[in-house]
């Protein structure tokens, strides 16, 4: 497989605290990777570094062979707009926008015409099974529905990489199963590379590869997900 994203000796320090230390990893195109670790292990910081939301103290991040460390903040924003979809534990939808408008949010500053924007957003909502809730605002949606809207938003620009930070952390088991199913479908059917940060082994079990972090460093890697206990949530579906 081709390398989509590669990090080389990545460090991130907040003052005297080294949140990420010497992380080198590779994510191939179409791969599903789970990063596990306890709270404070540095997995969320690593995801933010990979998303360009934080800048590394040292090391390099290469996307399709290009070092994104040279990009300024606006350059990183554009890079995210074109290549990366982000999903957060707290969904982070804009409360005043409808589901469809939230999905279309990354397209608002682009030259995409309103009608095309609407159609693309509706198609993504259809993909996550929420086209019937297009006009509803986040406050009118369940947690699981909100996360599916957030996933649809992450997909609106057809990214090659989706980065998800504890995507099921705020969901009940039923909603978690639906969201995991969506990630698996994205990865299997559409070839989108997915990297999920989680402390939930059931989530990690969906991934094709597992990376475990402790104290900012990778302590285990390349553990196949099948070595984990079978995820009961997935089995129920």
């Amino acid at each position: 497989m081709n390398d989509l994203l590669r990090t080389e000796n990545l460090d991130k320090a907040f003052g005297r605290v080294n949140a990420v230390q010497g992380v080198s990893l590779t994510i191939a195109a179409g791969e599903f990777v789970a990063i596990m670790g306890r709270s404070g292990s540095g997995k969320t910081t690593l995801l933010q570094l990979l998303a360009g939301l934080e800048s590394p103290t040292a090391g390099h991040i290469l996307f399709q062979g290009q070092d994104i460390g040279h990009l300024n903040e606006d350059g990183l924003a554009l890079w995210r707009r074109e290549h990366v979809g982000l999903v957060f534990q707290a969904f982070h939808l804009i409360p005043t926008l409808s589901a469809m408008e939230n999905v279309a949010l990354p397209l608002y500053p682009t030259a995409v015409r309103p009608e095309e924007r609407r159609l693309r957003a509706l198609a993504r909502l259809e993909q996550v099974g929420l086209s019937h809730r297009a006009g509803h605002r986040p406050g009118q949606l369940s947690g699981g529905e909100q996360q599916r809207v957030a996933i649809a938003r992450a997909l609106i620009n057809q990214p090659s990489l989706v980065l998800a930070d504890e995507p099921t952390g705020n969901l009940d088991s039923q909603s978690s199963a639906e969201v995991l199913d969506l990630f698996r479908k994205l990865n299997h059917e559409f070839g989108v590379a997915v990297m999920v940060v989680t402390h939930d082994r059931e989530v990690a079990a969906v991934a094709g590869r597992l990376i475990e972090m402790k104290d900012g460093s990778i302590v285990k890697r390349d553990h196949p997900a099948r070595s984990l206990p079978a995820p009961s949530v997935r089995d129920e579906r």
Binding site: L86, L93, I94, P109, P114, E166
Partner: protein, 417 residues
């Protein structure tokens, strides 16, 4: 800037939107209404003279007659000589000058206020030709004819064709005029040709006793001036007529209009401007609070690929839309307030000197006044100035606020809650 997102933000935060629009609207309405109020009073101050087509009335204080017998000049009207009149005509900014001779005629059986006027003049009491209720107005180059105020004629039992003596000279009544329709300045009982009034005055012993009245003299001038130069004309006329000059204008009328007008005229700009700036400050305070609440939203926008300038444009657009909404609502409110103001009456006192009657006669000391609806209206230039001011302030401060908001680090605000 995305209009759909902007409209969604404004429509779905109705409390914030309405309070921001209302604060701007109230400030702007205060600003524009105060200007309309002050402008209305300024216009009202022009009314007494405007009714006779003039901007300035010029007289010279004279001496009190030695005896109130026959023709005398009120002490507010000393002769103004032809060379002085010619000098006034030559002043820069003077468009037209109307001359009149006003005198009192004390006869044993009646008292008359008589005004000699040029019936061809478009300025001054010559305008009475539009107020004829019976008969006709004075014609050019005729003599020995008079037009009477209809109320006076009724009280004196005079009718058209009657002959009435003025200082022993017979005058035939050819018309009646309703002077109340032509203003309160230089009101008289009888109006006669200017040449006749001059001849009568020149021959009157009690005029000659205190005045050097020459052929071609007048004792009141009505001046139409270029508005832009009116102030300099007033100054120049005052200088020309000397220390005894009495020059009436909108400026002098406004000085007797009362404290409320003076306060508004002096501080209206300041209060209005302060109101407008407070409104913009309130809008920005609301927006600053709103942006603080929306830090997470801004973080989300950055995370999903919005560049800083795109966020700045979007947020500034919101501030501008609110300011524009406030300005439009404020202008509508100002129009409404001004409509109400324009239904109120304003009374402009006319100085005794401009329509003198002897104090010792019944009603002689009674003050004359012009009462009109306050001519207040929203000045389009003022509306545009306030629009530009509100939008410029909002844009500048909105850009500052949005610029700061766009610097939010998404990683800081998007950490799991």
């Amino acid at each position: 800037m995305n209009p759909a997102y902007l409209l969604a933000e404004l429509a779905r935060r109705p409390g914030r939107t309405l309070s921001a629009i209302l604060s701007v609207a109230l400030g702007l309405a205060l600003f524009v209404s105060l200007q309309a109020y002050a402008a209305g009073y300024r216009e009202a101050a022009r009314a007494p003279l405007a009714e006779i087509g003039a901007d300035i009335a010029a007289q010279r204080q004279g001496d009190v007659p030695e005896a109130f017998q026959g023709i005398v000049f009120p002490h507010s009207t000393a002769p103004i000589h032809p060379d002085e009149i010619a000098a006034v005509r030559r002043l820069p900014g003077v468009e037209t000058v109307g001359e009149v001779v006003l005198f009192w005629d004390f006869e044993p059986e009646r008292f008359l206020v008589v005004l000699g006027l040029d019936p061809t003049s478009n300025i001054g009491p010559g305008r009475l030709r539009a107020a004829v209720t019976a008969g006709r107005f004075l014609a050019t180059d005729e003599h020995g004819v008079a037009v009477a105020d209809v109320t006076f004629a009724h009280q004196a039992g005079l009718g058209l064709g009657d002959t009435l003596p003025i200082a022993g000279q017979p005058f035939t009544l050819v018309g009646l005029v309703d002077t109340s329709r032509a203003g309160q300045v230089a009101n008289a009982n009888l109006y006669i040709p200017l040449a006749d009034a001059r001849a009568l005055s020149a021959a009157a012993p009690n005029v000659r006793a205190v005045h050097d009245f020459r052929a071609g003299d007048a004792n009141i001038l009505f001046i139409k001036a270029n508005q832009a130069q009116a102030d300099s004309v007033i100054t120049a006329v005052t200088d020309l007529l000397g220390e005894k000059a009495i020059v009436s204008s909108a400026r002098s009328f406004s000085q007797v209009l009362g404290e409320a007008y003076r306060l508004v005229d002096r501080f209206g700009w300041l209060v209005g401007l302060a109101g407008l700036l407070l409104a913009v400050a309130a809008l920005l305070r609301a927006m600053a609070a709103n942006l603080w609440e929306r830090r997470r939203d801004v973080g989300v926008m950055r995370a999903v690929g919005w560049r800083r300038r795109e966020i700045v444009l979007q947020l500034t657009g919101e501030v501008l839309a609110l300011a524009l909404g406030g300005v439009l609502a404020g202008l509508a409110l100002a129009v409404l307030v001004t409509l109400v103001l324009s239904q109120t009456h304003v009374t402009v006192p006319v100085p005794w000197e401009l329509s003198p009657t002897p104090h010792f006669l019944p009603g002689g000391a009674q003050a004359m006044a012009v009462t009109i609806n306050l001519p207040a209206q929203v000045d389009p230039v003022m509306a545009l100035i306030s629009l530009a001011l509100a939008l410029t302030c909002s844009a500048a401060l909105g850009l500052g606020l949005a610029g700061r908001a766009a610097k939010i680090k998404p990683a800081e605000v998007l950490r799991s809650e």
